[in-house]
């Protein structure tokens, strides 16, 4: 129906525009207005994104909702947008998370409210831009732009050590992506002057440059995912970030890395991807096992969940480099699911932090006595984090393990240890925080979740359960694109 209607542009620019309006409400005198405007803007952005799913043609493997305009003609740069079965679910995830983040910050953020809310809206638009850009330069601009709001969110509203964390986050990720730009320029020259990503997909390349390009991309994407050993910025960033920042960081920003592998590394340099797949699988498995063990001994809840994120994202990269349908679809499902679960886990920690101002596990104990409703939600998300069937956490892990066993039994063996480690670190934390007798007078004073918190937790719980009980609608939209990608991967570009 809306043929030719610039839906993707709307999904990108509407939140950015409203975000700027939120900025314009000025100081904290108009905080109420800023909040409501931000909520309205984020919900509106979610609503305009729904047609992307509703009108998505899941039979078609190529790009849909395409927009194509000249931008910098001198260098053949275009404003080229489009989505396929890989990027569309990620855009929806992003639009889904933003209103939750706005609500989560409703009573918690009391200084520079308009800037806080505005930053999240702008970020949401920028991330949508990353997921829908089909022009390398446009992509790069959005990619780097996404750092700025998060840098500010951590640096302004973060914890005591926020400046160190913000700078570490910024430099780490910026360094990673510089070589990506170099790769784009190289590809521009080789392709005879095109910045179109889809052109790059078809571009034949010898193995040596493929490997170099792969490594250039790898640095950019591995830092974002983050893969072992370039993951150390994440725990620091999470610990210092405000709750909303942690949610977006875990739920959305990490997905940029995963998306990058699917959109760039695999299709542009398929031979190098195959050639180096052993290394990638190895790094992913280290992430699953090593980081799983590291998570076990964390004393800070946010650090624990941050490490758990790294471990779960290991499944994403593992799935990509197994080169079969279960693996790639499983990795996709894992990305979406991790968005819900890690977001929810950080939210739960945030709920407790707002009351007790501590993230240390040892400061808690017996929370269930005082916050029974909260404990039920927290239990659900903890179980989802441990990959319990019936929650979304199971689906992706299950698919990736099934994919791994096809390639090599031992890959599956090490990946499946997450069944034990994931449960161990999550439930051990849960036990120490929630179960037991009331541990201190501070815990004694805890009050249960408010209506606002229940609302967000319920929405996330519904998403987690729905995806666990009935993941079909999600996997269905990915099939055509993933099949196409796999067919593409099996053809050598040499």
């Amino acid at each position: 129906m809306l043929l030719g209607f610039p839906l993707l542009s709307l999904v990108i620019w509407l939140p950015i525009f409203i975000g700027i309006l939120v900025f314009a409400t000025g100081g904290d005198r108009n905080a109420r207005l800023a909040k409501w405007l931000a909520l309205a803007g984020s919900v509106l952005s979610l609503l305009v994104a729904i047609p992307l799913y509703a009108q998505f043609d899941s039979i078609m493997s190529g790009m849909q909702f395409i927009e194509y305009h000249a931008w910098i003609e001198r260098f053949n740069v275009h404003y080229h947008l489009g989505v396929d079965g890989i990027s569309m679910p990620l855009i929806l995830l992003n639009c889904f998370i933003t209103p939750l983040v706005v609500i989560a910050g409703w009573q918690v953020i009391n200084n520079r409210v308009s800037q806080y809310m505005g930053a999240f809206l702008v970020m949401s638009g920028i991330v949508n831009g990353v997921f829908s850009s089909l022009d390398a330069i446009l992509f790069y601009v959005f990619w780097e732009a996404s750092l700025i709001p998060m840098f500010l969110i951590i640096g302004v509203w973060g914890g005591p050590n926020r400046v160190y964390a913000a700078i570490k986050f910024f430099l780490y990720t910026l360094m990673g992506s510089l070589l990506m730009l170099v790769a784009f320029i190289y590809l521009y020259n080789v392709s005879g002057g095109s910045f179109s990503i889809l052109d790059y997909h078809k571009l034949p390349l010898p193995l040596a440059p493929q490997i170099l390009i792969f490594i250039a991309f790898l640095l950019a994407f591995a830092v974002k995912v983050p893969m072992w050993p370039v993951h150390t910025w994440l725990p620091d960033a999470h610990v210092e970030a405000p709750t909303g920042g942690s949610i977006v960081l875990a739920a959305i920003l990490l997905k940029l890395g995963g998306y990058g592998f699917l959109r760039f590394s695999l299709p542009i340099v398929p031979d190098a991807s195959q050639y180096l797949s052993g290394m990638m699988i190895g790094l992913s498995l280290i992430a699953v096992v090593y980081i799983g063990l590291v998570a076990l001994v964390q004393a800070d809840m946010k650090k624990l969940i941050a490490y758990s994120s790294v471990s779960h994202m290991g499944f994403v990269t593992l799935g990509f480099f197994l080169f079969n349908a279960y693996g790639i679809e499983g990795a996709m499902v894992q990305m979406i699911s991790h968005g819900f679960i890690s977001g929810a886990m950080f939210l739960c920690v945030g709920v407790m932090y707002d009351r007790l101002h501590s993230r240390q596990i040892s400061d808690y104990g017996g929370v269930a006595n005082k916050m029974p409703i909260f404990s039920v939600f927290f239990m659900l998300f903890a179980m989802a984090n441990a990959g319990l069937p019936g929650t979304s956490g199971f689906v992706g892990e299950f698919m990736v393990i099934m994919a791994a066993i096809k390639v090599n039994f031992w890959y599956a063996f090490f990946a499946a240890t997450t069944l034990i480690f994931g449960a161990a670190y999550t439930l051990w934390m849960y036990k120490r925080v929630v179960f037991g007798a009331v541990a201190s007078s501070k815990v004694e004073g805890l009050v249960d979740v408010t209506g606002r918190e229940i609302l967000i937790l319920t929405i996330l719980a519904a998403a987690v359960l729905w995806m666990g009980v009935y993941p079909l609608p999600l996997t269905e939209v990915m099939h055509a694109t993933v099949d196409d990608l796999l067919a593409h991967l099996s053809r050598s570009k040499l």
């Binding site: 570490k168 430099l171 780490y172 050993p229 150390t232 910025w233 090593y290 063990l293 590291v294 998570a295 076990l296 001994v297 964390q298 079969n324 349908a325 279960y326 679809e329 499983g330 017996g366 269930a368 006595n369 239990m379 179980m383 319990l388 069937p389 019936g390 199971f394 689906v395 299950f398 698919m399 393990i401 099934m402 791994a404 066993i405 096809k406 039994f409 031992w410 599956a412 063996f413 499946a416 240890t417 069944l419 034990i420 480690f421 449960a423 161990a424 439930l427 051990w428 036990k431 929630v434 179960f435 037991g436 007798a437 009980v469 009935y470 993941p471 079909l472 996997t475 269905e476 099939h479």
Partner: protein
């Protein structure tokens, strides 16, 4: 015909609805309506199960999908039901025991602040267990498998302020996860080699790959079927608490007694046994897997029964007894006597539920005292509890005429006839265990109900029989505990299980038993001439002599055999070893990776090191921008000199 299919859905959904109502609206509708709703839903579930059971026994087998859970690649993952004799039997057993436990709970949990929550959990458990047994594919099996694990976790930690309870539930979940780890890999292998997770398709294709080998460790070709079956069996070892994954079950007694009866005796822990019986077409193709089951089952049977001898907590005696009985079932599976295993599963569900619920009744009367040394002489205060437990205890030991006799004797006989490696070992184990079982069971009875009372005066004054909601389930459950065994002829040797259990022609144990079977009376009269019967009498006699006649004897024996006693009392130090090696090891490894890998090497050396190098270079370069004019002038002169000399040199 179309109506019956709607009933299939009703069976699991009714308890689910009960769970949701009791869980979400429990506070709103109050305690009475919460248990009423949950029990009515269980009645519906039981009625539907029985209707389906009668329908299935007429030969109406159903295998169909409810909905497509997911598609990936070319595979459809379905949620669906396989309703045949095996699943229908399990459905009736599960819903019947569950209903009884629901009723019992009214009495046991009275006044507990978590009353509604408890009903919600046990209904949820029933839902999960039914989904497990009704599954027509491995995926749904795994769903149910993990879901019962979850509810078990929640229920063991039901009294979440007790440190021991929340320790036990974490331990139970993690040990089960170790089993699930193998189980999931097994499912993965099935999916890889069969391309589907649907039972019927997999079973039909299994013979084609019976001889295929794989090299998991390069250079070592293993039978594919053995690898799959052993991986699946590792799952069963977790759930059915077989050595060495048995450690969680005794600790699970921290949960309220009704769930010890329902989950940790009658139903959930038998899921592993059920699963292997369900997979009989696969296991029949691997003698190696059968041998593994015989050995593991044998070890569990004997060594767990031995631990039961030295326990003083009444629930722990029953718990170790459960472990031992599960071992019996596993041995039966290993002997290819799947129907016998399920038969014992069924009879055990009834008599062990009575033992647990009876123990619970005693515990209520004793004001939540569980130490048998502080009991004694309860018989006259609690006649119903005593007599039901007495009958169940006899059934547990395998006394002729009671259900346990038929099923256990059949197991012993089946192992006797089994011809694969490990059968002799298992036979020895199950035989000795008959004596041990009789001993510990009657030791428990004597210590609790007979002799002189050891409780304090206050408790003694308040001793009385439990209310009818507690005794009624005991009486109702004791009926099948007596009578279920008499169905032996049709269950084991008739066509009861139809095609739901398949036995390879080379495994003749059941066939040989069938040839020797001459009716229930024949079986009972014959038994008097066999070893198990005399072991049984010997065990009871010894218990009587030790705990009724020469009551100072156990203490003396304890002194003489000090180290042996300590070994049993410490449960072979397995818990200590696990918590030192696995829990401690994982934490040490994690700390090492974190402190050295992440903090020192990656962050300290590379990340901050890179930052330091940048700073260092900057410091160095900064010296060139000193701001003093003579520095710059000097540098220029040096530069001119160098350039000039270069120029001169080249020309």
């Amino acid at each position: 015909m179309i109506e019956i299919q709607k009933l299939y859905l009703l069976v699991p959904l009714a308890p689910l609805v009960g769970a949701l109502i009791a869980g979400f609206f429990g506070r709103l509708i109050g305690t009475v309506w919460s248990h009423r709703v949950a029990i009515i839903m269980m009645l519906v579930c039981l009625a539907a199960s029985i209707t389906i059971f009668t329908d299935v026994s007429k030969g109406n087998i159903y295998n169909g999908s409810v909905y497509t859970w997911m598609t990936a690649g070319v595979t459809n993952f379905e949620i669906g039901f396989l309703i045949d004799q095996l699943s229908a039997t399990m459905m009736v057993v599960v819903s019947f025991v569950s209903l009884m436990v629901h009723i019992y709970t009214i009495g046991y949990m009275q006044g507990d602040p978590g009353y509604q929550r408890f009903f919600s959990y046990i209904s949820l458990f029933t839902f999960a267990m039914l989904m497990l047994v009704m599954a027509n594919n491995f995926l749904q099996l795994f769903f149910g498998w993990e879901a019962v694990g979850l509810v078990s976790y929640l229920l063991i930690g039901f009294w979440y302020t007790r440190p021991t309870a929340v320790y036990a539930n974490l331990k139970a979940f993690l040990v089960n996860r170790v089993g699930d780890f193998g189980f999931l890999l097994g499912i993965g292998m099935v999916l890889m080699y069969f391309g589907t997770l649907d039972y019927v398709t997999v079973f039909a294709q299994a013979p084609q790959i019976a001889t295929q080998t794989i090299e998991i460790i390069p250079g070592l070709p293993w039978m594919l079927m053995s690898v799959i079956c052993i991986l699946l069996f590792i799952g069963a070892m977790g759930k059915s608490a077989q050595f060495p994954l048995h450690v969680w079950l005794p600790d699970s007694m921290e949960g309220p007694t009704p769930i010890s009866a329902l989950i940790h005796a009658a139903t959930m822990v038998t899921a592993g046994i059920f699963m292997v019986a369900r997979m009989s077409p696969l296991f029949e193709l691997s003698d190696t897997a059968l041998t593994v089951m015989l050995v593991i089952g044998g070890i569990t049977t004997l060594f767990m029964a031995l631990v039961a001898i030295v326990q003083n907590d009444i629930k722990r005696v029953v718990a170790y007894s459960t472990l031992s009985q599960l071992g019996y079932m596993t041995v039966a599976l290993g002997a290819s006597a799947y129907s016998v295993a399920i038969f014992h599963l069924m009879t055990h569900a009834f008599f062990k539920a009575v033992l647990f619920l009876g123990a619970g009744s005693v515990i209520i009367a004793m004001h939540h005292e569980q130490d048998m040394r502080k009991m004694g002489g309860l018989k006259k205060y609690m006649p119903i509890t005593y007599w039901t437990m007495f009958i169940a205890a006899l059934a547990n030991t395998g006394a002729p005429g009671l259900s346990g006799f038929f099923s256990k004797d059949s197991i012993i006989e089946a192992v006797y006839f089994a011809e694969i490696p490990g059968a002799n070992f298992a036979y020895l184990c199950v035989l000795i265990t008959v004596f041990v079982t009789a001993f510990y069971t009657f030791r428990m009875l004597f210590m609790t109900f007979h002799g002189s009372p050891h409780m304090d005066e206050h408790t003694k004054e308040h001793l009385h029989e439990s209310p009818w909601v507690v005794t009624l389930p005991l009486i109702v459950l004791v009926i099948p505990a007596i009578g279920a065994g008499w169905l032996i002829e049709s269950i084991l040797f008739g066509d009861y299980f139809g095609n739901s259990i398949q036995i390879g022609l080379q495994h003749e144990a059941v066939a040989k038993m069938s040839a020797q079977f001459h009716g229930v009376w024949g079986m009972m009269s014959h038994t008097i001439t066999t070893i198990p019967f005399w072991f049984l009498l010997g065990g009871i006699f010894t218990a009587w002599y030790f705990y009724m006649v020469k009551t100072d004897l156990p203490g003396k024996i304890k002194q003489v055999f000090g180290p042996v006693y300590t070994l049993l009392d410490r449960k072979y130090y397995i818990d200590e070893f696990y918590s030192w090696f696995f829990a401690g090891g994982a934490r040490a490894l994690g700390r090492g990776f974190w402190k050295y890998g992440d903090v020192k090497i990656i962050d300290g050396f590379f990340v901050n090191g890179a930052a330091r190098i940048v700073v260092w270079i900057a410091m160095l370069i900064r010296r060139f921008q000193s701001g003093y004019i003579y520095h710059y002038a000097f540098t220029m002169i040096v530069g001119v000199f160098v350039l000039l000399s270069l120029w001169l040199y080249r020309t």
